[in-house]
Symmetry: none
Subunit: 110 residues, 2 copies
């Protein structure tokens, strides 16, 4: 199951930063970043807020991976916020999802 560290790592890598770089931004040691990403430590609320601000994601997303409240989240249904994206970019995502689904079927010999 995906945890905080996995999401932090993905966010960092999407920004093309090294652990050292992010550590500087947040005023902590690079070793601490590594520990978070390996899910060996959990940051304080204060640092959590800094991370949330820096990557512009919600604290809910960081901590439990859910951007929204429970009622909206059910079973195999996933929701994504496409705010700020153009039609083309959203289509890009849709095509990728269709491709992954198609490939999943192939892999299982359906």
């Amino acid at each position: 199951m995906e945890k905080f560290g996995d999401r932090l790592k993905r966010l960092r890598q999407n920004k093309k930063l090294y652990q050292k770089d992010l550590a500087q931004k947040l005023n902590i040691s690079k070793s601490a970043i590594g520990m978070y990403e390996r899910n060996e430590r959990e940051p304080s609320f204060e640092l959590l807020t800094k991370i949330s601000d820096y990557f512009d994601v919600s604290i809910s997303y960081l901590v439990d991976g859910k951007e929204h409240k429970k009622e909206e989240d059910q079973g195999d249904l996933f929701f994504f916020d496409m705010k700020g994206l153009t039609e083309e970019e959203i289509d890009d995502i849709k095509r990728h999802i269709d491709y992954v689904k198609w490939k999943a079927k192939q892999d299982r010999g359906e």
Copy 2:
């Protein structure tokens, strides 16, 4: 400034519970609840998630008081059915979405 403990206290009182009652629900000591409410301690992610589930509020609300998502934003929400996909395949999709979002920002000059 209002903090986590203040919100926890309010949530508890709204449910007409004593610290002892909430402590039982969460399987911790009543003293710990008191310390949270007085902002003397911060709970682990695991407990934070339990609290979020129990009171049916987001973790963002608990930690920074911001409910982040509003009704008006629902238009940007897209739902996808991931039934039959493995965790790896879903992660693949998540990474792609993160990448598209990241690239969109780059294209518009940070």
